[in-house]
Symmetry: D2
Subunit: 137 residues, 4 copies
């Protein structure tokens, strides 16, 4: 997939983002995508990526998917209400590609779904989330 990300919309990386190493690769109305290299520090007790990492990336991408405004001056914020993650497979590649879409919602809440794949296309996890908008800055 060809991703599109307006450089003007890139935000400085926040603390956990730097700590885990993910970056946004696409942001459009109702859609966001991120990538995360599978660094050794993400691994669990079994030497594979910790499931919490998939949940973290789905939560991240889903929140952005519902908050696109198209303008760096108009920042829309949101809070996650509920997030469900399904752990479907195991990555064979070297990085994760996370996509999220807003599938509904209104002025106060929105609904999203997302996928975590590796760069070879293997489906690793899916998720759905419910969010609440916060007042715009």
């Amino acid at each position: 997939m060809d991703y599109h990300l307006d450089p003007a919309l890139q935000e400085p990386h926040y603390a956990l983002q730097t700590h885990l190493g993910f970056k946004m690769v696409a942001w459009e109305k109702h859609f966001a995508a991120f990538e995360l290299p599978l660094a050794p520090f993400l691994m669990n007790r079994y030497g594979i990526p910790h499931g919490g990492i998939y949940a973290t990336m789905l939560d991240t991408a889903m929140g952005y998917a519902g908050c696109y405004t198209g303008s760096p001056e108009e920042v829309q914020l949101a809070m996650t209400l509920s997030l469900t993650t399904n752990f479907v497979g195991r990555p064979v590649g070297e990085r994760l590609v996370i996509e999220a879409r807003q599938i509904g919602g209104g002025r106060s809440t929105f609904f999203t779904e997302g996928t975590v794949k590796d760069e070879t296309g293997v489906l690793v996890a899916t998720g759905s989330g419910t969010f609440r908008y916060r007042a715009r800055k």
Copy 2:
């Protein structure tokens, strides 16, 4: 709550555990508890703990809650099938306390629920998870 953790059951910290800084504080049949200091690198775009951290901690504690054997020689492993996290509040303290309980299951799968609070008792998140056992080592 008074936690109990048999020192013989303590496992070496794995990679993500070291990277995020959590530790097990209790492990008994059908129960596990962890603590996580709220270090600056856990913070999200808004300067509060990233919701994925709560999901990560619930996933961690829930998996252990269903895998207690009482013996360091008998290691039971499990894979998360599905995890739902509800984001109820915001911590006011300095560390998270995560508790998880196994509430059902059989030979092949088990069910858990858990809470994330801060050390002052504020409820931050709740969750439920479904897991599948892997063959014992």
Copy 3:
């Protein structure tokens, strides 16, 4: 458990309630309970209660748990945003007892959790739900 239900708060049964046969047995601030006899028409392909019945009862009880006002003149309504149901066991008794509790929330949304047991105490299902308030009538 001893349930309490103020007769003044009893509402006429609505259509699906009559069709499935459940009734409210308790309603207090942040809590509601219902009962459902396990009639033959609730059974699935395998001759056991359809899982959707558990989800239906959790959704019902959870919604009421967050909408108690104590006054029949002040009716608080809510919409479910997200509901997760975990299918833990199978009933051995003749009716279901469903309990739900509000565990958090604010002016616009609330969080709940609930259990489905049979009258002998067997745990059949658990659930969590996120709801949004509607304007009061």
Copy 4:
């Protein structure tokens, strides 16, 4: 969408199916679809379809989506472990169309996702489910 359903695979309606009035309209490998007329007895306290009906239909369609064998002699059964339903919208039509797809899994468990729309295409609910296979008859 053009649905396909081999008449040889049609099963007699079970009890709850008759009571609620839904029917299978498609069944293929990893896919199943159902329809449900919006009869008055499905309505909730507000006069709209009860959310539990969406959960019931998702659970139903998802289970079948993972159990297709192509042969009426070879019946694959499954149990739902966990089901998450997101309540995205409200139907404007006269019947529900429920589609479910298997998105992963192995010999013992499988993962599904599904949608509930009305016949005009309005998205009403989405869901995901985790299932465990039972021994084949």
